[in-house]
């Protein structure tokens, strides 16, 4: 008897006992459903993170922050350290070979005025590298240029939200604004950046709410020297993520030489990503185990119901054996039935899993997507359950003595 024929027998049997079959399937449906939900959430979570990284400068990005040391005993050089400065930026550019782009940021709240609108707003001193570093570009006019930085030009570029706030429908380019009482010419407006994990909160909104001036201008207006001008944060970009540990190390060494103390913190996205991947694997495992447990429970139900329906089928098995079915054929038929029922359950589980996924996604505001890969996995798990838990009833059926089976009333 071919597998297909065993299957069609199984289908007929399951169809004729639809109520029983459905009951049998609850566990499998829920099990397959939770596996679908697990993978959908985890796959979508990873995809969303990767997309976020992509639109905000890529995984080659490195973050350097001030991190005051808690040490009491500091030598003179360490005491003299003022934290991250523009000098550090130059040092990194010069000495860290794995780094191809460095973008310092110095920011402070200043009084910004255009005509009758005057508001305290964050103003950020930056260099042209800021644009490629954060993958944000001028939508109108231009961004800050090298020549703006060299000449400490009094030019300003508005983030999209700030432009709308101060200029409403006017074209800001060419207009003059005053920042802390000094006049600046608006040379550009940035594009609007948007990324959301939950379709609600724009995690890149901070970029739209910036007002950019050349970092040299920023220091000059504050009365700081270019060398000693303090920066809040430095972004760097590594050339090759394969050497991400080297890249971070190089920066650490350069900064340690400059500062004489470890009053900074360096973090790379790629290292973070790898750490997260490990955490995610833990989460995935936990969820998977839950799904597998549901499947096991479902499998036990399948087995139980197979065994419960066993007695009424003993005679049938006897008849089949009398007309020449071998034990192997009976075994195959029963096993095929279990697998078929389980795969059918797994199939229904896909829809339940989709509902689970959507419910969880809307509660936690996490992204979710059901991929073909996930569907295949859930069906394989369901089939495996049928295989494992169909084994015992199939063995019992195959071992029935035909004489006794035929005698059964």
């Amino acid at each position: 008897m071919t597998l297909f024929e065993a299957m069609s027998d199984g289908i007929r049997d399951s169809k004729d006992h639809l109520g029983r079959t459905m009951l049998q399937l609850v566990g499998i449906i829920l099990g397959a459903g939770s596996i679908v939900a697990t993978f959908s959430l985890s796959v979508a979570g990873k995809a969303a993170s990767m997309e976020y990284y992509r639109v905000s400068g890529g995984i080659q990005k490195i973050f350097i922050w001030n991190h005051p040391t808690g040490k009491v005993t500091l030598d003179a050089k360490a005491l003299a350290s003022k934290g991250l400065t523009f000098r550090d930026v130059k040092a990194i550019q010069r000495n860290a070979r794995q780094i191809d782009l460095v973008s310092p940021m110095a920011s402070e709240t200043m009084t910004v005025r255009y005509r009758e609108i005057e508001k305290p707003r964050d103003v950020m001193g930056i260099v042209p590298a800021y644009s490629p570093m954060n993958d944000v570009h001028a939508a109108h006019g231009r961004f800050i240029t090298d020549s703006d930085v060299q000449t400490a030009a009094r030019v300003v570029v508005f983030g999209s939200e700030r432009a709308a706030e101060f200029f409403s429908t006017d074209d800001p380019v060419g207009k003059t604004v005053t920042i802390n009482g000094t006049g600046y010419q608006v040379v550009g407006v940035m594009e609007e950046k948007y990324f959301s994990f939950d379709h609600k909160r724009n995690v890149l909104r901070w970029m739209n709410r910036q007002i950019y001036i050349p970092i040299t201008t920023y220091f000059t207006r504050k009365g700081d020297s270019l060398e000693r001008g303090k920066v809040n944060m430095i972004n760097a970009r590594m050339i090759d993520i394969k050497n991400h540990e080297d890249a971070v190390d190089q920066i650490r060494k350069v900064l340690y030489r400059e500062h004489g103390t470890k009053d900074f913190q360096v973090m790379s996205r790629i290292a973070n990503l790898k750490r997260n991947e490990q955490n995610n694997r833990m989460y995935d495992m936990t969820f998977m185990i839950c799904g597998v447990i549901s499947l096991i429970v479902g499998g036990i139900v399948v087995m139980n119901i197979q065994l419960a329906s066993f007695n009424e089928r003993v005679r049938e098995v006897g008849t089949r054996k009398a007309v020449g079915a071998s034990s192997a054929q009976i075994f195959g038929q029963f096993l095929a039935e279990s697998i078929l029922v389980s795969v059918f359950g797994g199939f229904l589980g896909l829809f339940v899993g989709k509902l689970f996924t959507e419910a969880i996604a809307s509660l936690t505001r996490d992204p979710a997507m059901v991929t073909p890969d996930t569907i295949v996995k859930a069906l394989i798990f369901a089939a495996g359950t049928g295989l494992v838990f169909g084994m015992y009833p199939a063995i019992r059926a195959s071992r029935l003595n035909p004489i006794e089976a035929l005698r059964t009333e």
Binding site: M1, T319, R320, K321, A322, V323, G324, Q329, I403, L406
Partner: protein, 239 residues
């Protein structure tokens, strides 16, 4: 010629379709062993219509199981169609049942959820025949028992007599060497039962039929009766 005497090897041959030599069957029931068959010698020729009769507990069911290859003798030889089947494995016995024996049971034993056609096809399914051939042969044999027009019905839509005719069709579909009927009229009224025996009578000569019954009226319609009492054949009608 030298003085060496050649010992002729004893070749055990069977001329009859069914030949049982000194067959015994002992059931090991714990302390006490029950001897269900005590030395049965039977030969049944191709085309015979034979009844095995005897009171319940006489061992006739056990004999039928052995003849039907559902069970093996404890001792003795059994040749079916020239093949020694006494010592075959369960798997080999399943193949013999599939290819050489057609069963008709007292309780019909049709698969309740399958159509008549599927029921008749069942032995061919296990023989591994392709679908088209199965269908063709099953339809032909259904025509032969007069149920060609009911092939799509389910067993519960048929009368008892019709169900037994389906069972006969199923028994014939694999062109068996032997049709083995166990109390085939036991669940039928007298008239319907007689009609079933009519079918067997028509088949006799063409098919070899062994019918197990305790009903003397039914047995009297067969060509030969083998009477079993206490695990032994008691009439001299054994050839």
């Amino acid at each position: 010629m030298s003085a060496v005497a050649y010992m002729e090897p004893i070749v055990e041959t069977a001329k009859a379709l069914i030949q049982l030599d000194e067959v015994t069957k002992t059931y090991d029931a714990g302390e006490s062993a029950v001897q269900a068959l005590r030395g049965i010698d039977v030969a049944i020729q191709q085309g015979e219509f034979v009844a095995i009769i005897g009171p319940s507990g006489s061992g006739k069911s056990t004999l039928m199981h052995i003849i039907g290859c559902l069970d093996s003798p404890s001792e003795g030889k059994y040749w079916l169609d020239g093949e020694d089947v006494a010592t075959l494995s369960a798997r080999a016995l399943a193949r013999i049942r599939n290819q050489k024996i057609g069963f008709v049971f007292q309780t019909f034993n049709l698969l309740p959820r399958a159509t008549i056609l599927k029921n008749v096809e069942l032995p061919l399914l296990y023989a591994g025949l392709p679908r088209a051939e199965r269908r063709e042969r099953a339809m032909a044999v259904l025509e032969r028992v007069g149920l060609g027009n009911r092939s799509k019905a389910r067993p519960n839509e048929l009368s008892g007599g019709q169900r037994q005719r389906v069972a006969i069709a199923r028994a014939l579909v694999n062109n068996p060497s032997l049709v083995l009927a166990d109390e085939p009229t036991g669940n039928l009224d007298q008239k319907t039962g007689a009609e079933i025996i009519d079918i067997f009578e028509d088949l006799a000569g063409e098919e070899t039929i062994v019918l197990v019954t305790h009903d003397p009226a039914i047995a009297s319609r067969t060509g030969r009766r083998i009477k079993i009492v206490d695990g032994q054949i008691v009439n001299g009608d054994t050839e």
